[in-house]
């Protein structure tokens, strides 16, 4: 079991990146830096957000006004969109979508505020260094850990080319700074910045490829005439999208890792709330814990519900 700790981080910055999507950068204390020195993309941390103030009523999205009033006690799991070790320590980026009482409160984090974290937790993505392409499939808020993975691969596996496929219902649900270029088509500036080619897919075609992100990848696989052993799929997003990704991986015989999401009470293997059904001898095999055995699983092992 890798190192994991309960520690404090200091907010360096917290800002809205587009309506409903925010990014917080946190500077870890020395204990956190130690724990995060070998963090893998796809791991997560449990943030304590119960002590943060509620933003003023007019800043709370109308559809969340009722939910926002809930007094919260549990931590919340978040993965990281990047982890940068600088001279003064480690800074992690958390990209988050505002959709409930905890994330509403996170909007009011300000520089200098302190946040308690437990992490890094769970098992992240395992990069296959022999594959030519690492295809990163992100659905909606699935973005953060894959961004980290892209950068991680660029830094450590020069032989592997990461390529991101970023899907969402429509343009306004894409948590990126999307650009359009005559040559490259639609791409995300965030991935561009880390030197990762990206493709955009929207269900409604409001930008990029029209259709599911899995269809977009499939088209690319065909166009490029990729051989199964040349590529690995790394995906994160809503469960239907992950199931489609696994089906695609099966069809083409490509290895595939999926990052699963579950409501988690503890994040550290105490409560059994976060189980994921896995394949076994019979119909389904044992449940595994998303927080300990995952969140990243081999696509072959997961039984989607």
């Amino acid at each position: 079991m890798a190192l994991r700790r309960l520690f404090t981080a200091t907010v360096y910055r917290n800002c809205q990146i587009r309506p409903g999507y925010w990014r917080a950068d946190l500077d870890l204390d020395s204990s956190g830096c130690e724990a995060f020195s070998e963090v893998q993309p796809g791991q997560f941390a449990e943030l304590r957000v119960s002590d943060i103030s509620l933003p003023p009523a007019q800043e709370v999205p109308a559809n969340l006004r009722d939910l926002a009033q809930r007094n919260i006690i549990l931590r919340r799991p978040f993965s990281f969109c990047d982890v940068h070790a600088g001279p003064k320590g480690i800074r992690i980026g958390v990209l988050y979508c505002v959709l409930g009482p905890a994330t509403v409160r996170m909007m009011s984090l300000a520089r200098g505020d302190q946040v308690s974290l437990i992490g890094p937790l769970g098992k992240g993505y395992t990069v296959s260094p022999e594959k030519k392409y690492a295809l990163l499939l992100a659905g909606g808020m699935g973005a953060p850990p894959l961004m980290h993975l892209g950068e991680y691969i660029r830094a450590r596996y020069p032989e592997v080319t990461p390529i991101a496929f970023l899907g969402a219902r429509s343009l306004e649900h894409l948590p990126y700074d999307v650009h359009i270029d005559n040559e490259k088509g639609a791409y995300a500036a965030e991935y561009d910045r880390i030197g990762v080619e990206s493709h955009i897919a929207t269900d409604d075609g409001s930008i990029g490829f029209r259709g599911f992100v899995t269809q977009c990848v499939e088209q690319w696989l065909k166009e490029q005439a990729i051989q199964p052993e040349e590529a690995g799929l790394y995906s994160c997003g809503p469960e239907v999208m992950l199931a489609a990704t696994v089906a695609l991986a099966d069809k083409y015989g490509i290895a595939c890792q999926v990052s699963m999401e579950r409501m988690m009470a503890c994040g550290i293997g105490l409560c059994q709330s976060c189980v994921v059904a896995t394949k076994g001898k019979g119909e389904t095999g044992p449940y595994k814990l998303c927080c300990m055995d995952g969140p990243v699983f081999d696509g072959k092992d997961v039984v989607f519900e």
Binding site: L74, M263, I268, E305
Partner: protein
């Protein structure tokens, strides 16, 4: 200043280093919390419910947060007693604290079967009889509300535990908790633990469905603390105190002050459940806080507080 405070308590003949336990289902099987605390500093540890066979438990979502609380419907998911013995007992042997195994089953025979398999294991200090789980159809809470059944199951399991301590865990969802408490005592319980969670439900108004896959679940956390305190106090004054039966108090404990409230109400020890999720080292902080409280108030032994409500 640094004069040492005696935090030890006698719990049904077992000597606990202090009154703070971790509660069943919220601290894993054995050493899951070891990264966050020195487990040997605990007063004691109560395992997840163990059944004769492995149980997968309920589908997800199994939990949902509520105001100052949470619902769970884990459904007694566990590895089963045999794997528990093989894989978890060795780690328990290293923990150097009092370990209670929480027993569950669908029939009386199942409870007895688990108890028998563990009755001779020296790693196990005692048992907690879970007859109050709101999240399984069979067994569970139905046993826990009928005094006659409580007395019967307690005495049958008591015969199977080979002289180890048997603690019976009560549900708060009864008209008269002194009746169920008395039934357990009559059945031979060495200790009582209360409270288990309250049957509860959260509905998603968008989908018009309950959030939990099991539809309902058990409410725990600070939200229920004042009810738990009331019930512990009633059981202490009307049943346990007069019979010198120790109480393990639980329900919403998060701070040393909370724990001290339970002791004053009549608990000899307390168990920390939901709060551990938010703060994994919560139990240790509580032990420290208790010691500070005693020092500040000039209390030499924590035992002086038990049942001390004026």
């Amino acid at each position: 200043m640094s004069e040492s405070i005696d935090l030890t308590v006698d719990f049904a003949g077992l000597k606990a280093a202090n009154p703070v336990f971790t509660a069943s289902g919220t601290c894993g099987y054995c050493n899951e919390l070891a990264d966050f605390m020195d487990l040997s500093r605990l007063g004691g540890f109560i395992t997840k419910s163990i059944t004769p066979e492995a149980r997968r438990g309920n589908p997800t979502p199994r939990i949902v947060e509520t105001d100052s609380g949470m619902l769970n419907a884990i459904g007694l998911a566990n590895v089963g007693v045999d794997l528990f013995i093989k894989e978890k007992l060795p780690a328990i042997a290293q923990m150097n604290t009092l370990v209670f195994v929480n027993l569950a089953g669908q029939t009386m025979e199942e409870y007895v079967a688990v108890a028998e398999k563990l009755s001779l294991r020296k790693e196990v200090a005692g048992f907690e009889l879970n007859i109050s789980c709101p999240n399984v159809k069979e067994g569970g809470i139905t046993f826990g509300t009928d005094p006659a059944q409580i007395e019967q199951i307690t005495s049958r399991v008591k015969n199977a535990v080979g002289g180890k301590v048997l603690m019976v865990k009560l549900t708060p969802s009864v008209t008269d908790i002194t009746a169920t408490a008395r039934a357990a005592v009559n059945g031979g319980a060495d200790a009582l633990s209360l409270v288990n969670t309250f049957p509860a439900m959260v509905i998603d108004i968008e989908t018009r469905r309950p959030i939990l896959a099991n539809r309902s679940g058990g409410l725990s956390g600070p939200a229920i603390k004042p009810i738990a305190i009331y019930l512990v106090h009633r059981v202490f004054t009307e049943v346990a105190g007069p019979g010198h039966i120790p109480i393990m108090g639980m329900g919403g404990i998060r701070t040393a002050s909370d724990a001290l409230e339970f002791l004053l109400a009549g608990a000899t020890a307390v168990a920390v459940g939901t709060a551990t999720f938010a703060q994994p080292d919560c139990a240790i902080r509580i032990i420290q806080g208790m010691e500070e409280h005693c020092r500040r108030k000039g209390i030499s032994s924590i035992r002086n507080l038990i049942g001390g409500l004026q």
